[in-house]
Amino acid sequence: MPVQPLLVLRGVSKRFAAVQALVDVELEIRAGEVVALMGDNAAGKSTLVKVISGVGPADRGVIEWQGSAVQIKRPQDAQVLGIATVYQDLAMCGNLDVVGNLFLGREIHRLGILDEVEMERRTRELLHTLSIRIPDVRVPLATLSGGQRQVVAITRSFLSAPRLLLLDEPTASLGIEQTSQLLDLIEQLRDQGAGVLLISHNMGDIKAVADRVAVLRLGRNNGVFDVNTTAQEQIISSITGAADNAAGHRPTRPEEAWP
């Protein structure tokens, strides 16, 4: 019996008032696999992440989790499945400290009273195991640098040992050392059997950790490539639209074909 993929999207479409952000998008992520999602600006990558994380559910389409259809209508639904997300805009509360942000929405409490000591202890422990350095876990997040906040957002996504991790341009403001550290963390998580969806514009990072690359172009699939066997030029031309690979992967109606 074949192992069911962790997550399958079929025919996902989403429309904002004037913009058709996603059109019949398909995506498959297996357990123990890193899938990169690439595409030009406004290709719909972040929109797709928000569909999966329940922040902005799709208008149409099916989401299958380990072979059975699921409804992800709210962020809580995704959390229950074990989906953790690092958003492109981070989405953290500047007035709360690092501990408060990490545990927001899943606070540890004893008899209804927040257990700050336990939360701080776990925060330090997690930072330690991820070998991430944050000078003080009790300063408001707004006082950290952009890169540090990104690191906190990444740390938060590792808090509850996710089964599927969605990373929307997580390396955007990271230094060289922090980036390679994150790539190590991604590999560790994959080796533990989780699935990872990594959005990045950096071909180097993707070559380093991803197994497959899915390309979105103008809200549509434009090919899925094996990172190890595909030439970089081919992926790039698929991103920019110099090549229309969609035909090989799903039936394309004539009017949709690249001229």
């Binding site: 959390q79 958003y87 509360c93 007035n95 709360l96 927001l104 929405g105 209804g112 003080d136």
Partner: protein
């Protein structure tokens, strides 16, 4: 009265470090750590309770130097009861401001609660306790309605509560009838709220001692837990210094008020509400979510916070506290009148929260600011009355203080925004 703990003690993080090091070096280290913390807070524009405390001190010194009776036990005793009605309402406003919204209906709701109580108890002869419960629940229900329209329909809170201001004021006028006031009988539950004093020395000094001991116990307990978990904790000296401060304030209050009629029941209830709501805000998951909403609604939503529920409950709480405050105001006047709905109560309650240091921009503040702010406002009013200055001047001065507070708040916000952003 902790706004936020000072934390810059990575230097002596190891358990027992304080004891092992020799005194002078240890002190130098601590001082440096404090300097760093203070500079950081200045940079963030977060001065906690310092500005309102300074403002209160200046107010008291100025009025005392102009009139010897200002800090007399009698005047302070009257002041300590006068602040309660507005203060209760201000506590609810603090919660609303924390989620970055505004509630303009609280004055009308306070008036409505008084009118509902009077109509049921005085006019219809309903037992007092039942009338009180119904009056408070009216406030809660009205608040929940505002919350519903804001959170579920998406009407701006400003407009919803402005409609509430008009509508509930209308209902109050209707209930009060053509005479537009209903007098209470003396010596009953509601009038007792602001006329009962505890003067037995054993009881009131015992209470001050108990409060201090509780503070000490909680601090030590926290320290022990943090130490056991291998985390930085407050040094013993700091705990004792803070406890000494708490003791001084508690015993001085009891001493001064004890020299007049004693500790007012109203003040005790007010302090109880502030302490409870402060713990609620800082120590419960729900309070954490209230703060999170002020820091970023979308971030809170994505973290799985039920935004609509928190919003509705905050407006419900604001309406409830407005009704409670209204009963205290009515109790002070021993009648239900149009006064609370007149607008001054609303203005003072919002001004108190802001002057006390709660940010208008959401996410930053404490319920203690309701106490500090209302003390400042009421002190100005009381001092002016003692000096025989007309209310016109009092309004102008209070307006100036409010503007100063908002300027501080805005500058603090700008400092925080430009603080560490890359």
């Amino acid at each position: 009265m902790r706004w936020r703990e000072t934390r810059a003690r990575a230097a002596d993080a190891a358990p027992g470090a304080g004891r092992r090091r020799d005194g002078r070096r240890w002190y130098a280290g601590r001082l440096r750590a404090y300097a760093v913390a203070v500079r950081r807070r200045l940079h963030e524009g977060d001065l906690g309770p310092v500005p309102p405390l300074l403002a209160l001190a200046v107010t008291w010194i100025v009025f005392q130097s102009l009139n010897d009776n200002f800090l007399s036990p009698r005047n302070l005793s009257v002041l300590s009861v006068d602040i309660v009605g507005t203060g209760m309402i201000a506590v609810g406003i603090v919660f609303v401001l924390l989620i970055g919204e505004i509630d303009l209906s609280v004055g009308s709701l306070a008036g409505l609660a008084g009118a509902v109580f009077a109509a049921l108890n005085v006019n219809l002869g309903m037992p007092e306790w039942l009338a009180v419960i119904i009056a408070v629940n009216c406030g809660a229900a009205a608040g929940a309605i505002h919350g519903f329209f804001f959170a579920k329909i998406g009407v701006p809170s400003f407009v919803v509560t402005l409609a509430g201001l008009l509508a509930w004021n209308g209902l109050m006028l209707y209930l009060l009838g053509p005479e537009s006031s209903i007098n209470f009988s003396e010596d009953e539950l509601v009038t007792t709220l602001t006329s009962r004093y505890f003067s037995a020395a054993v009881a009131i000094y015992g209470l001050a001692a108990l409060g201090t001991a509780a503070y000490l116990f909680v601090s030590y307990h926290d320290r022990r837990r943090r130490g056991a978990a291998g985390m930085p904790y407050r040094p013993v000296r700091e705990i004792w210094a803070r406890t000494a401060l708490v003791a001084v304030v508690a015993f001085a209050t009891v001493y001064v008020l004890g020299r007049f009629e004693g500790l007012p029941l109203a003040l005790l209830i007010f302090l109880g509400v502030i302490i409870a709501s402060d713990l609620f805000l800082r120590r419960t998951p729900y309070g954490r979510q209230v703060l999170a909403l002020g820091g970023g609604v979308e971030a809170a939503r994505r973290a799985g916070v039920d935004v609509a529920r928190v919003r509705i409950s905050v407006f419900l709480g604001s309406g409830t506290l407005a009704a409670v405050g209204g009963l205290f105001v009515a109790s002070r006047l021993t009648s239900a009148t149009q006064v609370p709905g007149s607008g001054m109560l609303l203005i003072n309650a919002i001004a108190a929260a802001v002057i006390g240091g709660t940010s208008l921009f959401g996410g930053r503040g404490s319920t203690w600011s309701a106490l500090l702010g209302v003390l400042i406002i009421q002190s100005i009013a009381s001092g002016m009355a003692l000096l025989g200055v007309e209310p016109a001047v009092q309004f102008m001065i209070t307006g100036g203080v409010l503007l100063t507070a908002v300027v501080f708040d805005t500058l603090a916000r700008r400092a925080a925004e430009s603080g560490g952003r890359s």
